[in-house]
Point group: C2
Chain length 358, copies 2
């Protein structure tokens, strides 16, 4: 943080770059005049053509480039969209999980004329992961948040400011204060269950992960709703929680022998539950859908070791990313009547791992 150059000339990128003041001197006008002329045609009404040309020429001659930082400080906007992901570590594989969102975010940001500011440095600095870093978020005009678990306290603080924010995922704890774009897991999951029931499955197991992320809660709710609508009972043993470690082939075999014909799992950023089921089935020698039907809630868009075409539903990640950006830019622009909470529906995927009951 110590300047390298002389005093009054901080280090970094602007050692001998021309400023508006230089142009002004060269053109024989004042700095504000230069500012008016260079900051676009609309504001430059009331400037003589002669002056304008003089200034433009001087600017051209000096190779002037406006300093975006100063611009932002003075004008309070810089066409930057922040992107913050709540992820403790930075596993390479996981970055794939967010990639589809990114594609949508990138495209829409570009379309709206915003650049993207990815806050990633935080993911490394272990201690106080978010508390401190959330400040940096203000570098942007608004910020998009992703990740299964969002830090309540810091978020609450951030929401107290007036920085436009959008969360990618459903989250109602903050009521209307936190705008979001989520996926309608409840409906989609119920639909999946209904589909399985139509295929003749009556003993359906739901294998979910340990954590209580909103998406997980929603999916379980959808599962229960779907079961209820089909008149199927949900007992205590119908919903299995696992982090993968306790899901042995023997356990799976036990279920099978008790008459379970279909398993529903969820796709997450780690895919722990889903992978565990695949692994156990592989060890036990079960195949999908011949021996057992499998439906995965929110099929991973990227290749995952295992069956090529998973049954279940797909999360419209790209569209969600784009919608989130639209919402965010809308908030930044102060548009009225924005739907602050948006749920996008998920497309059912017939796939190849679910079939008629054996």
């Amino acid at each position: 943080m110590k300047p390298i150059g002389g005093p009054g000339r901080p280090a970094g990128s602007r050692a001998n770059r021309p400023r508006q003041a230089d142009i002004a001197r060269l053109a024989g006008v004042s700095q504000p005049t230069v500012s008016l002329i260079l900051s676009g045609g609309s504001a430059a009404v009331g400037i003589a053509d002669e002056t304008r040309l003089k200034v433009m020429a001087a600017a051209e001659q000096l190779g002037y480039m406006p300093d975006p930082i100063a611009k932002r400080l003075a004008a309070g906007q810089n066409n930057l969209l922040g992107l913050y992901t709540f992820t403790a570590t930075f596993p390479t594989e996981m970055s794939h999980a967010y990639h589809p969102f990114l594609v949508g975010i990138e495209q829409e940001s570009a379309a709206q004329g915003y650049d993207l500011l990815m806050f990633i440095a935080s993911s490394i600095t272990g201690e106080r992961p978010h508390a401190e870093v959330l400040n940096r978020v203000r570098l942007a005009d608004g910020c998009l948040f992703m990740g299964r678990h969002l830090p309540i306290r810091e978020m609450d603080r951030l929401l107290a400011t007036d920085l436009p924010v959008v969360y990618l995922g459903r989250h109602d704890d903050f009521g209307d204060r936190l705008p979001y774009v989520g996926a309608d897991y409840v409906t989609a999951t119920a639909e999946v269950v209904r589909h399985l029931a139509e295929l003749g499955h009556h003993r359906i197991l739901y294998v979910r992960e340990l954590d209580d992320a909103i998406s997980a809660v929603d999916r379980e709710a959808g599962f229960r709703r779907g079961m209820a609508e089909c008149g199927l009972p949900v007992e205590r043993s119908t919903v299995v929680r696992t982090d993968g470690s306790d899901l042995s082939a023997d356990r799976l075999r036990g279920w099978y022998e008790q008459g379970v014909t279909a398993i529903v799992t969820e796709a997450t950023d780690t895919d722990a539950a889903h992978r565990a089921v695949l692994a156990a089935a592989s060890t036990a020698g079960y195949r999908f859908p011949e021996d057992l039907s499998l439906a995965t809630l929110g099929a991973p868009e990227h290749a995952v070791p295992g069956p090529a075409f998973l049954s279940g539903f797909s999360v419209p990640r790209r569209e969600m990313g784009a919608a989130a950006v639209r919402l965010l830019t809308g908030l930044i622009a102060g548009e009225p009547n924005l739907a602050r909470h948006q749920l996008m529906s998920c497309e059912p995927v017939p796939g190849e791992t679910a079939g008629a009951v054996r």
Copy 2:
């Protein structure tokens, strides 16, 4: 750019956020004192503990968050790394091509404590794609550039400033002025040719794309060197240029009947040549490596329609991205003795599309 709030309080993110001045007032000290105390322990030597605590408490009470923009303006640094991709349009598929680089860039940036600023808005605003946007680049402390074709004039201008810059790819036109991290295509390609020759191939065709990107030039050079080293002749018909449209199955069949046993293509961001060869072979009914051997220079890391394991070599994209970030942060920090031009070697990939001559 018009303020929404009152004058002196530009729109955007800082409507009623506490500033250092507010803390100062609350704690009964001056703003510079607050600055000294909050900007870290080292500079705060010579501050009474009592004062320090008072200020800290006030800051805590107000929920102070420093404004990164102002910080940057005053201090000249903001721990932001720019990332600019020269790409006319923004096709979704193409973003995949750069993804491996991104992974390396992200990881290393995070490790170095930098956030990433992706300049993407440019890719949409058609006219003057780069000229104007390259200014924005100065938002960051330094900038990474990617893309096959870099705009010479704008780059030249940018290099005239002292903004640290690194190009991801070889490019010697600017001499020492443009630091880069590239891949050693020449050596790797020659190695591929040598490998084919060892498999008994003597009639090897090189199918490349139309454009003369540096990487393309290097690969052709490597091809010629490899051929020369193996005592194989390179005639005018040995190197085929195509954008894919004129590569019919008939044409491929013609080569085959003239005794060609192996084809070398290049992987690019569009993979035009490579795809064309695959398509023609598919139509003509040729299989790799049974009928024809195929080596692809710079095998795509992501799934591509066609054979699963392409022979050729793989570009160490992740490592290149990381190396580029290291170089860039080194430049920003003003480290001496940095290797401004780095070529990373590519790993040969035996693959499954090249085999012994039939």
